[in-house]
Amino acid sequence: MSRTGPKAIYNPRIPLMPPLRSRLQRMAYATLCVLVFLSAMHAQKWSGAQAQLAAKIITLTGPGTMALELINKSSLPRNESDEIRRGILTELASAGAQFVAAERAATAVKIYLSEDLTNYLWIAEVRQGAGEPAIAMVSLPRPDAPLSEHDAITTTIHKGLLWSQDNRILDVAVIDGNPSNMLVLDESNVGVYRLQGVRWQQEQLLPVTHSKPWPRDVRGRLVLRKDHLFDVHLPGVYCKSTAGAPLTMSCYVSDDPWPLGTDQAVLSAFFAPSRNFFTGAVAPPLGAQNSVPAFYSAAFVPREKYTLWLFAAIDGQVHLVDGMRDQVAAKLGWGSDIATVHSTCGSGWQVLANTSSNAAIDTVQAFEFPDREAITASQAADFNGAMTALWPETSGTSAIAIVHNSETGKYDAFRLTIDCGR
């Protein structure tokens, strides 16, 4: 297929813009400045402990010759341990230490970079003569595992990181606009955020009130509404927002069914309030069927004259329900969470399913149902941890996946869309 686009036209140079070479020089200079600044910041991180340990060593040895060895037994990377070594050597030298080979030194100092559950521990073992070594140590708090960067890897399933937080996220809804807004549901609150530049800024925190404890594998759903901003469905609780400013939210004890569909297909189902699944009672009835096996999640595939519903049941099977029959799908290897996404690829309707595996990562893959057999429609998208929720967005063109990141311990919310790769 050939594509004919408009011919490229380049803007003339802006008169006050400096020549390219000059700009490159400035950029290089600026980059150098940033690197020097970052390096200095980095070095400063250890400077207090370096000085402290050096002072303790000098107290034990006095100024003079020493052989020094540094052994890294901690999780610090090589470049950091090298930097720490340089810093300690500098501090010792300024305090009068002279470094010589082991055979010429009266004092042998071994510095261990170690760590316990909460601290970095730097230990100096000082040997003078044949006696017992003297020990000096300093400690400094060890931060939690650093937040890893999440690349929005474009594959057939595009996953865009929306939000990350310590508390378990149950669902996220994005209100696209200018500026865009985002709602983040967790066990205690609905956070309201506004997109400012490239960052989400919190505007409001609406508390979720409830009297009974949440089930262990708590689940929740945010649904955008037309007559008011949003609804929240939680086990045994329903919360409704106001329509406009000031934005408030009221929560009630409720066993009302949760909406499971999207703008394209409507279905509600009753949630077991002290469990993590839907009871199987659905409304409106699916043809002749007003109940299906108890299930964790549902997806749909529109047909010409009916809608095929898929239920990831608690018996581990996927049930295909068309209003007449309840058919168990052939072995799929799916997990408990499925959701429908409407796209411009293939048939236009893909079912996203997390795939059941023993690996340390969860994956999501798209499938199509030309008939009753699932056909793989995308490559698997990997997530760095266990998926705790997968819901279709109200618009139906994307889904929200919540992942408990195994590296950071945080909950990450992703928006999943199908990228046709064209």
Binding site: K73, S74, Y112, S114, E115, D116, L117, T118, N119, L121, I123, E125, I135, M137, V138, S139, K212, P213, W214, P215, R216, D217, V218, S274, R275, N276, F277, Y296, I314, D315, G316, Q317, V328, K331, G333, W334, G335, S336, D337, N354, T355, S356, S357, N358, A360, D362, T363, G385, A386, M387, S406
Partner: protein, 452 residues
């Protein structure tokens, strides 16, 4: 412990914890456990048998005011907050409102105070509205972490019957034989996934392994020397904390000569050979009471064989060593290790003989790690071994190091190995998780069903 070994353990636990993660947890089913211990009481304040299993069983039934996170830091549980008065001798704990025991009565300040008094008679405890005040005999800067110990689980005691405050209610208890627990729907952290837990007690290792293979048990204890074989035979094995294996003398050394003999014994034991040969590499040679991942300094204490040093030390004294060595006669592995120690001692010029008496000169003992908070862990170890309780200048690692060094200097205890505890898991067990101190999280375990 080497970094690679540590990493492999962490990786293994991580894999175990996230296995089958794509499948949402299933409610229901009976989780069947077996254990070798046979306690006659399940009262946490009246525990006569202290093993990893008994401790974890207490945790199922009795919540504590505070829990420790994976870094050993106190986090709210039945207490929502706490504050010390200046001097750390008197503390106030604010209780979580609206909680009940399994019989429906409120877990109020009076009930909590009564429960803690049963666990520690030396504390003065005063109910204060929605909280309690605890006055200790001396400053206790680590009191919140101490209250996370299973012994301080909150229980209601009425006419010899116990009511649980935790995730599971006690439904049947045949002392020393079987305990049946049922998940509480109203549990404040959310109902456990399994409906009930059945714990068969007093089972031999062989019987436990057979029960696992015949699918009559879901979680069984695997002795350290059989863990590797069990893995090779295709069983799913999970690590669950480490125990300290140590020699403990019944009294302090009475002379410098006796101290030297004890040093000679410590130097002459080939820990690596015991680990690699007898324990199938399920442990790490130890020169300290607490493992290195907990303190960061354990590698400073030698744990390798130093036979020349041992002989030299032995030769420096004319004192005669003729110690009796006790061991757990119910544990075949314990006897084999004791016999190996006898040989090592002989090589170093020391005389030991195995003893069945109740009061041997020294005893081969195994101690579970009591807490992820190192000051608590080492204090508890000192108490169990009858050594002088350590004194900490502050809560710094240097102070911990000084306290442990002083404890070892007393020559009352010779650390040998940190031995990994292993459990065999049935094919249906999902989401098994264990902290590094061996705490199980059975309320998060669920039972899978095979997919078609």
């Amino acid at each position: 412990m080497t970094r690679s070994a540590l990493l492999s353990i962490v990786a293994a636990s991580l894999l175990a914890s996230v296995a089958f993660a794509a499948v949402r947890p299933r409610y229901g089913g009976i989780l069947r456990l077996t254990t070798g211990v046979a306690p006659v009481s399940i009262d946490p304040a009246n525990s006569t048998i202290d093993t990893l299993a008994t401790r974890n069983i207490y945790r199922l039934m009795f919540d504590t005011l505070v829990v420790l996170d994976t870094r050993g830091k106190p986090q709210p549980a039945l207490a929502t907050s706490w504050q010390a008065e200046p001097g750390d001798q008197r503390w106030h704990f604010q209780l979580r409102p609206g909680l009940t025991f399994q019989d429906g009565t409120a877990i109020g300040a009076d009930a909590v105070a009564a429960s803690l008094r049963a666990a520690n008679a030396s504390w003065k405890i005063f109910p204060t509205g929605n909280g309690i005040d605890i006055e200790c005999q001396s400053p206790e800067p680590s009191l919140p972490a101490q209250l996370a110990l299973p012994a301080y689980g909150i229980a209601k005691r009425t006419a010899g019957k116990l009511a649980a405050s935790g995730a599971f209610a006690i439904t049947r208890w045949d002392p020393g034989k079987k305990l049946t627990l049922t998940a509480r729907d109203d549990y404040w952290r959310g109902r456990a996934f399994v409906d009930s837990i059945e714990i068969e007690m007093g089972k031999s290792s062989r019987d436990q392994m057979i029960a696992l293979d015949l699918n009559q048990a879901d979680v069984v204890e695997i002795p350290a020397d059989q863990a590797r074989r069990a893995t090779a035979e295709g069983r799913h094995i999970a690590n669950a904390g480490v125990d300290l294996l140590a020699l403990v003398f019944s009294r302090d050394a009475r002379s410098a000569d006796e101290s030297k003999l004890r040093d000679a014994l410590a130097m002459g034991i080939d820990r690596s050979a015991i680990n690699n040969g007898l324990l199938q590499a399920q442990g790490e040679p130890a020169g300290t009471l607490l493992p290195n991942w907990m303190t960061g300094y354990a590698f400073l204490f030698p744990a390798g064989l130093n036979l020349a040093g041992a002989r030299r030390m032995r030769a420096e004294t004319l004192a005669v060593s003729s110690w009796s060595l006790g061991y757990d006669s119910a544990d075949p592995l314990s006897r084999i290790i004791a016999e190996r120690i006898l040989l090592n001692a002989h090589d170093a010029g020391l005389t030991l003989q195995l003893a069945n008496s109740a009061t041997p000169d020294l005893r081969l003992q195994r101690f579970p790690l009591d807490s992820l908070e190192p000051h608590i862990a080492i204090t508890r170890l000192a108490a169990k071994t009858g050594t002088l309780l350590p004194k900490f200048g502050d809560d710094s690692p240097a102070s911990l190091y000084a306290a442990e060094a002083a404890l070892l200097q007393s020559k009352r205890i010779i650390p040998l190995l940190h031995v990994r505890n292993s459990l065999g898991l049935g094919a249906d067990v999902r989401n098994w998780m264990s902290d590094r101190d061996g705490t199980w999280h059975l309320e998060d375990v669920w039972l899978g069903a095979e997919k078609p």
